[in-house]
């Protein structure tokens, strides 16, 4: 978080992204704020299988997230995408339509929550009317704020819905790549680079 006086970082930022345990296990990130409970337990179970020799090395993406959980975007699994596709966007919260113009970052965020629901298939984010604020992404929260504005990438693609699908997907993956990057102040160095200045307040 920009301005954070503690400069706290995640485990991979601290130990290094290519850190491996003595048993050869990498750091596994199961992101989400909070993490979807079944995503977490399922990852633990996978690692138990792996340790027992019943599964190969856990498949992770470049951000060390399990690929089967974080391989698709929120939009890919969102049951409101039908309204997106029809160019039929919500203009106020509480509408059952696609809320991308109200701040939802779904099209560029890697997360399975709308598809899986939050608990026993109940709840979630854009599928139940909550804008996706990107909490599974390395760039969270700074790159997604202010949350309630339409994301710049989404603005482009939601007005470009007339363009051929291939083009849209290319556009998406660019934006997706951007928010999958770490903010510059996440590192294990001693100096504090979040923009916090103790004398500024």
């Amino acid at each position: 978080m920009e301005g954070n006086p503690t400069g706290c970082v995640g485990l991979a930022d601290y130990l290094g992204w290519d850190w491996k345990s003595k048993a050869g296990l990498p750091i596994v990130n199961v992101p989400g704020c909070p993490v979807q409970p079944d995503n977490f337990m399922e990852t633990v179970l996978y690692l138990l299988y792996q340790v027992a020799g019943l599964a190969p090395m856990i498949p992770l993406d470049a951000q060390l997230r399990p690929t089967w959980l974080f391989g698709s975007t929120v939009h890919d699994g969102c049951d409101r995408a039908g309204s997106y596709e029809q160019g039929d966007f919500a203009t106020r919260y509480g509408s059952p339509k696609c809320i991308v113009k109200l701040g939802c970052w779904g099209p560029v965020v890697n997360c399975n929550v709308p598809k899986r629901g939050w608990m026993a298939g109940i709840g979630g984010c854009p599928n139940v009317g909550g804008i996706c604020i990107g909490c599974t992404m390395p760039g969270f929260p700074d790159k997604f704020m202010p949350f309630m504005d339409e994301p710049p990438g989404a603005k482009l693609s939601s007005s470009a819905i007339g363009i051929y699908g291939q083009a849209i997907r290319a556009l998406r993956s660019m934006t997706n790549a951007t928010v999958n990057k770490e903010p510059k102040w996440r590192h294990s160095r001693a100096e504090l680079t979040t923009g916090y200045h103790s004398n500024s307040y």
Partner: protein, 601 residues
């Protein structure tokens, strides 16, 4: 000024009898609460207690400069247990600052979500954490005589909860194997589903916004909620008499047990569940719509209701230092000179607080914690009262009962009690429970109130669901009203987090957050001695606690101290470390794993 608890000098008992015992951390959640005590095994009482926190977050610092609309999203992340209470409270403050009044439907949805949160969290804390302190295995190890008596004592309400003896209840509370422990755990899934129906996600809601909610109100939404709620209502008809039997037995089996965790009656409740008929979020009318809340706000001093006025409550909040790792802000910037009614705002009020962290070594004679000391200024006496929340429910009940305002069919405040009416369910007839104002503010009564408040929340939810359905059937399905972020504004939100008072204070300048201070219950309860020497509620309550545990220093579990601290619901207590004064670890155990193999560490 002046300390408000009976001051207590450190007594110098025989050196051989005075043993220092520390529990650190006492919670698993951010905050890392540690309780440091000296116990006098000669007099069987606690001689001294300090409450500390070893972690600093910096929320009030990095909130500055952010978009005010982001406040509820960010502050939700303060807590992994009651994030939704923060988000809700933040939207209340945003609504005031932005001048927006959400549609009634949105308020019912938020009320249903927060009611589900109370049902969920009180249930899992009471039956899967507090319950373990009263279970067969724990009682056998700490008070074998009490266990023998429990086995022989018939449970007065057997016909309602199905357990023949108090011993049977204690067995059912055994972690991981007890029937009631397991049932409560399963119920907690269901209440969390209810929460997710209304607020999208637990524990950081996805569908809350300033101006209303994003939840789509449909017959399906409320039906899915109500079918689960009715199961919980049925569950409550068993739980309330079960806990009554258990808690009454402790008074009977251990005469004097009312002293455990007892302190002066100094309770704060900031109110919960806004009433959309009257709540317009203006500061000007806050007195009125605050009294319209379905849990009445109030300050109770020595059993008297001092105020139910949110304006009064707001203006008299003071953040003191004294034993905390911060530099003072007395001479720093004043953000708010007067409130919108023209009342002066103190420099020590959250609106004017500045946070200057100053890390240093822990020293119990000087500074020893990251927690500041929130106090409530009693203008009648000039005291800075160290109000506690009693873990939430006892303060909510006490204020609501004395105010005598709430009357919604399922709930009636009588002026001296609160009646809760639960309708017929699948296999149980209708039931009326009545919470009576207790004689003491102590561990047992805090715990008892928690159980009753689970029933209160369920009864309130029945009312909210009916109101929501009426809105739906009338076709008023709008859930959000638009707003503009003003260039300059102030706002405050008052709510009850699960474990007690919660306030958010925001100052907006140039469309950005200029100052933001959330005050959740734990700073109120876990704070240190302030600049006047007044100890915080934990310190106070533990210092007053006599030791009933039959074990000596060698096998000491500190169960009475644990019951005293846990009655305040210090987030979710989980890890308990116990040290002898000379640095040697006596024992370590994690209470939810009690019964499993203890781990050294």
């Amino acid at each position: 000024m002046a300390t408000i608890t009976a001051s207590r000098a450190e007594e110098d008992a025989q050196k051989s009898q005075l043993v220092e015992m520390n529990w650190d951390p006492i919670t698993r959640i951010v905050g890392s609460l540690g309780i440091f005590t000296k116990i006098d095994f000669g007099k069987r009482k606690v001689a001294e207690c300090h409450s500390t926190s070893s972690i600093f977050r910096g929320y009030s610092i990095f909130m500055k400069g952010k978009d005010p609309r982001d406040a509820h999203f960010i502050t939700s992340r303060i807590c992994g247990i009651c994030g939704d209470n923060h988000a809700t409270c933040a939207t209340y403050a945003q609504n005031m600052a932005f001048g927006v009044r959400p549609p009634a439907m949105a308020e019912w949805i938020v009320n249903l979500g927060e009611a589900a949160e109370y049902m969920f969290d009180h249930n899992i804390f009471q039956d899967n954490l507090v319950g373990v302190d009263f279970c067969e295995k724990m009682v056998k190890e700490t008070n074998p005589g009490v266990w023998e008596k429990a086995e022989k004592t018939r449970a007065p309400h057997e016909e309602l909860h199905g357990y023949r003896t108090i011993g049977d209840i204690m067995k059912a509370l055994n972690p991981f194997t007890g029937a009631f422990y397991i049932e409560a755990l399963q119920v907690s899934r269901m209440t969390r589903e209810m929460f997710c129906l209304m607020e999208g996600r637990h524990v950081h809601p996805s569908t809350l916004y300033p101006g209303g909610v994003g939840t789509v109100p449909t017959v399906q939404l409320f039906t899915d909620y109500i079918v689960r709620l009715m199961k919980y209502v049925e569950f409550m008809k068993k739980v309330v008499p079960l806990h009554d039997d258990l808690f009454d037995f402790f008074y009977e089996a251990l005469p004097g047990y009312e002293e455990v965790g007892r302190r002066r009656i100094l309770l704060g409740c900031w109110g919960s569940f806004n009433n959309p008929d009257v709540c317009d979020y203006t500061y000007a009318k806050m007195t009125d719509w605050g009294r319209g809340m379905y849990v009445t706000p109030g300050v109770i001093v020595d059993g008297k209701l001092v105020t139910t006025d949110l304006v009064d409550i707001n203006l008299n909040i003071r953040i003191l230092l004294g034993s905390s790792y911060y530099d003072d802000w007395q001479n720093a910037q004043t953000f708010v000179q007067k409130d919108p009614l023209g009342n002066p705002v103190d420099q020590r009020h959250p609106w004017n607080q500045s946070t200057f962290p100053k890390p240093q070594k822990r020293d119990f004679k000087e500074k020893y914690t990251w927690v500041m000391s929130p106090r409530w200024y009693d203008k009648r006496t000039g005291d800075y009262l160290a109000l506690d929340t009693g873990g939430g429910p006892i303060a909510r009940f006490w204020a609501t009962a004395l105010a005598g305002i709430v009357d919604i069919g399922y709930i009636k405040a009588t002026g001296h009690s609160v009646k809760i009416y639960l309708p017929k369910t699948t296999s149980k007839p209708e039931v009326e429970f009545e919470w009576h104002i207790p004689k003491w503010s102590n561990a047992i009564e805090r715990d008892r109130a928690r159980t009753y408040f689970q029933a209160y929340a369920a009864a309130a939810a029945l009312y909210f669901a009916e109101q929501a359905l009426a809105e739906l059937h009338a076709g008023r399905t709008r859930t959000w009203n638009d707003f503009k972020v003003p260039e300059e504004a102030i706002g405050c939100g008052f709510h009850e987090a699960v474990r007690g008072v919660l306030s958010h204070h925001v100052v907006i300048r140039d469309h950005k957050i200029a100052n933001y201070h959330p005050y959740p219950p734990t700073p109120w309860n876990a704070n240190p001695r302030d600049c006047y020497g007044t100890p915080g509620p934990y310190e106070d309550a533990v210092q007053n606690t006599p030791i009933f545990e039959e074990n000596g220093p060698d096998k000491f579990k500190g169960i009475d101290i644990m019951r005293a601290v846990r009655s305040f619901d210090p987030c979710l207590p989980c890890g308990v470390h116990m040290y002898l004064g000379n640095g040697k670890v006596l024992e370590t155990h994690h209470s939810p794993m009690f019964g499993a193999v203890p781990q050294a560490g």
